[in-house]
Symmetry: C2
């Protein structure tokens, strides 16, 4: 594969100077047009050591309007990063819509290096690359343009480059101790890189191999690739084509389960919930004491073992989410949990993929995050109210499964509660709320409007539970007509999940 990037391509100084002003003017023009779009551009700069990657990053910063560029170098990890799922640091770095994000190092670096050093096997490398392919697909589906650049040097050129840098007093600081170490592994590095590139070279996020021996050639070529990618998207937007059509050649991705068929059923999962279940006051008091004190012990034990957990609450309006959450938090030391209520997104959140706002709130090791409403809004309210297009919410099932898979994989205990009540019970509670002073704030016109959509929500909930209840992140549908029963069921389930993990 890399033979194509060992052809000895060069650009003369005269040619470079003739082409550069045109390229820069065109890049700036495209970059400005990009600002008015909802398109983030993700530029990945990777390749052989000594191939001038850092200089290319400098050039991009020089050629583009600096106000529209974010450069992130992935290098050392902080403990805040280490204590969260691995991709948290990449989510933090994703560019907002209309901006160019330059990633110096990326999600590719660690798996490739670890494979080169023999810390992981090919099978693990493949799994990682499949994860990357679906991660990139998700971002591309959301509108991102990918520019993945791989700067290649032949073995001979790499040795010469490192020696040149080293012998020049002005540049010797550019050679890091790890560079020579990597050089000794050149053949292995080439083999692993090739495997990684092949597996992640998709229609929506294609790789570009750039021959890196000649500075002028590699910089001009990189600039042109970036320009082309932005211009292509701008033209597409002008023609008003949906972005999905850019991906005719997405290869089958092994790790991603095939999309499940849509669920068509007249009776739904909700119809099977026994809403007559209830507890007496005495049973309730005894059970609450038992499970609250158990939860208290378990959350401290989780803290000691550095096991984090996420509990999310969804449910019908007036199903008792708020009071159920309070019964949970009453048992947990305030130092150990945070509640994240999900309402309208901020503009910083709106400017990114819809899962970004949840990533930023993931718990550190040993902690619990409670989401009062969650990412499932995408397949509930956004679906029913038409805020998300059908292809968007359909896609969300898979995206959410993968998100939760990553949580589970990093050791986070995931509990998901749907608080179910009957339609009559909801009516009774709405009326009650209107009558009690300090409950009146809880009932709005929106609640009444949502109630009219009961059947549409019922179908959406059914699809949601069918598509996103997984072994590592199962749904618990809570029988909520009796609040006491519901609260105990939630506490008990949360305890069970924590116990299983500890």
């Amino acid at each position: 594969m890399f033979e194509a990037a060992e052809l000895g391509q060069k650009i003369t100084k005269a040619q470079y100077e003739a082409e550069l002003p045109k390229l820069r003017a065109a890049l700036l023009k495209a970059h400005f047009a990009l600002k008015d779009t909802k398109v983030p551009v993700i530029v990945i700069v990777s390749g052989t050591d000594g191939a001038g990657k850092g200089e290319v990053v400098h050039r991009f910063n020089e050629w583009l309007d600096p106000r529209g560029v974010d450069t992130h170098a992935f290098w050392q990890t902080s403990d805040e990063e280490r204590e969260r799922p691995r991709y948290w640091r990449f989510w933090r770095a994703l560019p907002a819509r209309g901006r160019v994000g330059i990633l110096f190092g990326s999600w590719y670096t660690e798996p490739i290096i670890r494979r080169v050093y023999g810390e992981i096997k090919n099978s693990k490398l493949d799994t990682e690359m499949d994860r990357i392919a679906s991660f990139e697909k998700m971002l591309a589906d959301d509108g991102a343009v990918f520019v993945k650049l791989w700067f290649h040097l032949s073995k001979k050129a790499q040795r010469r480059q490192l020696k040149d840098l080293e012998s020049n007093p002005k540049t010797h600081w550019r050679v890091l101790p790890t560079d020579w170490k990597h050089f000794k592994l050149f053949d292995k590095f080439t083999e692993v890189s090739e495997r990684a590139i092949r597996r992640t070279d998709t229609g929506q996020a294609p790789w570009h191999l750039v021959e890196a021996a000649d500075r002028r050639y590699r910089e001009l070529t990189a600039g042109k690739i970036l320009l082309q990618a932005i211009e292509d998207r701008l033209q597409q937007l002008a023609r008003n084509q949906p972005t999905a059509s850019t991906s005719p050649s997405v290869p089958a991705i092994k790790s991603a389960p095939a999309p499940r068929p849509r669920v068509h059923a007249s009776t739904t999962i909700l119809d099977h919930v026994d809403l007559t279940q209830h507890l007496s006051d005495k049973e309730y008091a005894a059970q609450m004491e038992k499970y609250q004190s158990r939860l208290s012990r378990l959350t401290w034990a989780a803290w000691e073992k550095k096991v984090a957990s996420v509990a999310l609450f969804e449910g019908w309006d007036a199903a008792g989410k708020g009071s159920a959450i309070r019964r949970v938090t009453a048992a947990v030391d305030p130092r150990l949990y945070r509640i994240i209520p999900i309402a309208a997104p901020t503009d910083e959140e709106r400017a990114r993929q819809y899962l970004w706002r949840f990533w930023r709130h993931l718990p550190r090791a040993g902690m619990t995050t409670i989401f009062d409403r969650s990412w499932y809004g995408r397949v509930l309210v956004e679906r029913v109210e038409g805020f998300a297009r059908e292809d968007e919410w359909q896609r969300a099932f898979l995206e959410i499964n993968e998100f939760e898979e990553q949580l589970a994989e990093s050791g986070i205990v995931v509990s998901k509660f749907w608080l179910h009540i009957g339609k009559d019970e909801q009516l009774r509670r709405f009326k009650e709320r209107e009558e009690i002073t300090f409950k009146r704030y809880k009932i709005t016109d929106e609640d009444w409007r949502n109630r009219k959509q009961w059947d549409a929500y019922k179908a959406a909930i059914n699809d949601m539970v069918a598509h996103t209840s997984t072994v590592s992140a199962p749904w618990t549908v809570v029988a909520g007509n009796d609040k006491k029963f519901a609260r105990v069921q939630i506490l008990k389930t949360f305890c069970k999940h924590l116990e299983a993990a500890l």
Copy 2:
């Protein structure tokens, strides 16, 4: 002082149950009214160990609308926090306007504990308390309501409380090992706390001592204090009074320098800049090479010694800020710096005090942050265009001095550049920009509008430099008519500052 909180106050169950519903209804009502205001409420929960602070936090979360509350416990510090100035973690936790932030532990905790353990002396404690007083004053001036609660237990009550908690199997986990350790230092703790409270008990941010032995009394009292504070502000807003009038009794704060007199002068600092200074191409090439390679070495050395730096650039339109910044960054490894361009704030940023958006971008140890425009917008564009009221931008000089003092204190090297050019030279550059294709994006109608305000800006710049040039964060006014001279002056100055710190 604490005698007033050792009176044996109690509330009977009947009384509690009679008062609670009224209190809760009133609290909710006030909390809802708060949402429509621009007022953040900062609740500090502190006091003796075993005084039930955690339970009060629970109660507040229960009584208020959880969607409008943020609870933060300050406990362990992350390395991301340790590597930044001490207050960074508190800035991260400040509530947005219209919200209630409950701080369990706060900026008071560490200084008090360190004094109790004898790690610092009284003089250092006082300095810390003065810093807190000015920090709180700044937030109060910005509109924040403070509710600072100190829960006090007598020595006898504390011992009884700890023993009770410990002997009850349901609550023994609430007693931390440090609690008994602190108990042995009870008298010292009381003495230090009293000193700290006296020094930070101000009109805008008063302390409330709450007798904590009786659960019902302390919770009801805390709730009433919170309610009163919010209601007072709401009434004030309804009467349309400026918030400053709430602080008749702010004590003189030692550490804060007395506000300097406004500068009235017909010739300004800018008139003394020799704009004829210039460099030949040959000198320029030699100097650039010298200082760029020096800067490269210095930034790596700073990385090794974990010395962070902040460089900010302000200047007339077309003075060459962008190109000067590129000459600096060209010499620095991309892993070591980030550029933060300052444009309009996001809504997350707008919802907080104006310095918050700069705190979030402070560099980690060993890194450099370059601000392209900065917090000085407050005393430049916001002053000249009238976006900030006179009392706001006047106050900003002191606020900025204190902000930069904290940067310097934490070891951050601060460099501030004003790029100065003559009025004729600006006109020449504006015209040039209109003529060159890839420079055309740089010139907007706003630039021409700003130019008409030249004299107003000149007065503002003069005030700014006079009020905010300090030993630890001096201004460098750069002679910018000759771009070559300006770039070298900037590189040289930046190197000089780094060298002094290493």
